[in-house]
Every structure is written in C-alpha cells, then in structure tokens.
C-alpha cells in the first residue's frame, strides 16, 4: 500500500518521460555476419568469461554500496541520536 503509493507517485512523473522515448531496435544480425567475425577473432585472444565474471562482480559491488548508502541515509534521518 505504501510502496504502491510511492511508486505510483514516481510513476506519474516517469511515465510522461518514458512516453517520449522512441522505441529503439538494435539488430545485430548484420554485424554478426561480417564485422563480428573480426571482433570475435580479436576477442579470441582474451579470457572473455573472466572479463564477464569480474564485471559482474564489480556491478554487484556497486549495487551493494548503493544499498548500504541508502540504509545509511535512512539511519541518519532517524531522530534517535
């Protein structure tokens, strides 16, 4: 109920903005067939799986910091101390 009210309030502002964003479609079929094979050849010399794992962890750590910072903000807003 509370969350719905807050999200609905935000959504009232976000929805008009989102409506103005055009629908974008990216088709990589052409790239795959010509340019992508050279890109794949270049990436073949790198450990792509390791890159993906580390980037995933970095993104997760960033989300963790955001969550902790949000809790800190809530705690700082309480009139306890």
């Amino acid at each position: 109920m509370i969350t719905t009210a807050i999200v609905n309030l935000v959504w009232q502002f976000a929805e008009p903005v989102l409506d103005r964003i055009p629908v974008i479609e990216i088709n990589g079929n052409g790239i795959t067939s010509s340019v992508l094979q050279y890109l794949r050849a270049g990436l073949y010399f790198l450990p792509v799986n390791t890159f993906v794992q580390i980037l995933t962890l970095v993104a997760g750590l960033w989300l963790l910091r955001v969550a902790i910072a949000f809790l800190h903000s809530l705690w700082a807003s309480l009139p306890i101390f």
Binding site: I2, T3, N8, V23, Q37, H72
Partner: protein, 549 residues
Amino acid sequence: MKALKRILCVALCLTITILGMSFMAPKADAVALTIGLGIVVAALAAGGLTYLVTSGGVSGLTEAVSNNVEDWLEDSGNVVDFPTPGDFFEYLGDPDNQDPPGFNDGRVLIGAASAHLLINFLVWLKDHLGLVEDDDPVEVLSSYALPLTNGYLHLSELDNTDSSRLNRSGDWFYIADLPLSGETILFTFYNGNYVTYNRASNRFYVYGYAGQSEFTFISNLSTSSNIRFSFGFLGDRFIVILENSNHQYGNPYASGHLSAGDSQTLLYGLIARDVDVDAELVSGGIDTDDFQFGDLLDLEFVPADPPADLDDWAENVLEYAVAGDLDVSGDYQPGQEQMEYPDSILGWLQWIWEALANTRLSNIIQEIRNLPGAFQNWFQQIITWLGNLPGTLTTLFNDLKTAIQALPQQIANAVSSAFALDPALAAEIGDTWNGKFGWIDDIKDWFDGVTALEPEPPVIYIHLEDSNSHYGYNYGGREVALDLSWYAAYKQDVDALISGFLWLGFLWLVFKRTADIINGVGMADREAHDIIEVSDGEGHTSLFRRRRK
C-alpha cells in the same frame, strides 16, 4: 523531541520483544510449567474440599450444630417438640390418633407459652360451645345434679354425689337424642334416665329415679370397666361418644370402679341433637365399634350463631402469635375484618398445626437443619469451579500462546500488505519498460552470441563465389582470410595467465575499496572526509586536505 525518541525506543523494544517471543519456545515452556504448578495446587485444594464434603465432614459439622441447637432449646424447657402430628394429638389428649387425616407430616417446635395458648384456645372452643367456664361448682337443683368446673369434671366432685349412681347395669352405650329445647343439652344418660344441662341456669338435671340412674363416667383415664370416650361437634352440638373397649364381654360395670384420683381431670362431654323436647331416647344410635374420633372430626361444623367474642379472641390469638413465636404468615392476619373460620374441629386443629409449623422457631430450626445441604451445595459449586479452573487456565494459556505465536506472521502480513506493490501497477511499469528498452535484451543476446563462440577458433573466409563479374569471370570459391586455429593450442594457458592477473588486480582493488564498500561511501564522500577544518585560535579557520596514507 525526547518524548518522540522515547516513544520510538519503546515501540522498537516492544516490536523486538514480540518478535522474540515466537523464537523463545523454551521460555514459553517455562511459563507453562509455572502455570501448571498453579493448576496442581488448585487441583489439590479442590480435592481436599471434595474429600471434606464427600466424607461428610461439613454436613456432619453442621448437623452437629443443628442438633446442639435443638437440644439446647428442648433442654431449656421453653420449647415443646411435636415430631409428628400424632404427637400433637397426644399432647391434646388423644394418644390413639397417631395419623390424623389431612395433617401435613413434619415437625413442630413451639415455645411453651404458645403451647399453653393452644390449650387455652381448645378449652375456650369447647367451653364456648357448651361447657361451663365458671370455676365455681355448679349448683345442682336436684340431688342428682352434678357440678362442673371450668369444663372439667373432677372426680372429687363426683365423689360428693351419691355413689350409688355410679352403679349401673345393662346396656350403657348411648348417643343422646334428647329433647333439647334451647338451653338444655343432653349430658349423658342411662337406661332411659338421662341428665340434662341447662345452659341458662348452668345446672344439670337427672331424669328418672336416682336409684336406677347411673351416671356414665367417661374418660381416657383407666377405669375398671375399660371405658373410653371421644368427643366432637355435630352441627352446633357438642357430642360425646362413649365407647366400651371391652365390649365383647358384655356390659361393663362401672359402679365404684372409677380409679381416677382427685387430682385427675375427667373430661366430660355433652351429647345433644336437634330433636324435639319430647323425643324419646334412642339407645344405641351409633355403633361405636366402628365409630372413631376422627370420624367425628370430619363432620361439618357450621356455627349457627358464631359467638360475638370469637373474632376478638381469634385476633388476640393472632396478635399474641405475632408478638410471640408464632408466625402466622398464611391467610390469617391480625386486624382482618372477615376471618374464615375452619368448618370443623379438625379444620381448627389443622389451622393450628399449620400455624405452628410456620412459627419462627420452627423455621429457624428448619433453616439450621437445611444448613448441611446449603453448605454442601456451596462447597460443590466451589469445587466445580475449581475443577474447571485447570481447563480454563490451560485454554487461556493456549490461546495466549497461539496469539503470541501468530503475532509475527500477522505483523509480516500487515507489513507485506503495506509495502507490497500493486501487481497491476507493476505490470504497467514492466510493460512500458520492456517496450521502451527492449534493445537492452537485443544487446544482451548479441553479446551472448559473441561470447558463446569463443571456444571455437575463428576462421574467417572470403567468399569469392559471391562476387559478381560483369564479364562473367569466375573469381573462384571460398578462400581463407584468417585462421586462428593455431592459437587454440596456447589459448587455455594464455587465458589462465591473463585471468590470474585480472583476478589479482580485481581483488586488490576490492581490498582497497573494502572500507568504502562496507560504509557505502562513494568517491565524493571520501573526498569530503579528507577535508579538515583547522582554526588558528583567533577566529580564523583554514581548510586542509587530509594526507593520504
């Protein structure tokens, strides 16, 4: 502000306590054990009371109190005890009537003064309807006249008469059908000789020859001739039944055989009927073999001319009863203008018996006798309540425990319902987002396509067969432009080496950022924390950057 802080702290503590209760089953069991001990103590107390009542301890105690009170009242000499109506009749002088009809069974205890009043009442009743009330001896006009004193005929007075008149012979059973002209009432008779009593002159008259007249003396006293008598009212007449208890032996002979002493009172009766003055004596009018006192009492009694002082007397009796220990709570109340008199002697006696049964003294005794039952009922109610107490406490505790255990789930449901997002709104947002940013999935799919081909060494071909020659020249088929299959033998080792360095670098960076990650501090905050403010003591401050270590 402080109040708000306190409220928040209390609310926080209360929430933690409630949530903690559901996870503290051992302590809940300890509470249950404490309540269980209380239940055991209550059960033991209930069992003790049950034993006390069922073993007769309470009833015996109250019974003893009741008996002691009764004994004390009887020993004091101020109470007359009538355990049965038969005892009541025996007190009135009729010991044979042990089961009088129409009398409620019960026990009557009255004060001695009330018993005396009762006797006075009966005497008055008899006197009022025929017997002389004067203490002085009745003047006898003839030599056969007999005196009466206060309705009672003393043998001593009889002794003053001619003893020859006590002699008798022949049949002596008679019911008077004598001439009764106004003031004259047949007294008793013998063989055609009879005695009359003149109410106006208060005299007795003996008819017939003195030598042949025999006065039949009747009483419940012992006589040599086994004579008994009964009395009662018939109409407005007071009649006497003479009965020979030794009838089978023929005529009793009473002459000179009366053995009553001077101090004994011989109750004497009058026999009369509403007959003509000149009517002849009818002997043997009633077969006394089957005629009893109770039969007479059942006869209808309708005073033809109620005595003028009856109302006053009855009212006095009632006033005395109210002032004394008689509690007349029935239909008869003092001061009433109209009083319904019983229509027979038996009715009077029944009224008296009921009135006595309602005396305050009898009620008090009855209440005392009811005490055991009252106490027992009271204790049984307590025992029943105590017996139900364990179940009640157990139910109460279980309900409380269930409520406490269900409380976290209820709180969770309340929180969930409060913070849950409306599914319709979530679906609307999701649809809009997917519609606007569907290209993110396209990129993801493309990227997955790129990385999925990694294990296979790429080989790039040039498709010359796809070329179009304006002049129909054949450039040939597919030619290899780049073949990295040679690197496949080294890729695993090289990837491992590169991945090792990448992981080392990543872990080093994470180690350096650990404090920021835990504190949720970003670069901007850290930069702000590095700025310190230094004062020179003269009101001037300077900002410096903290040196990094």
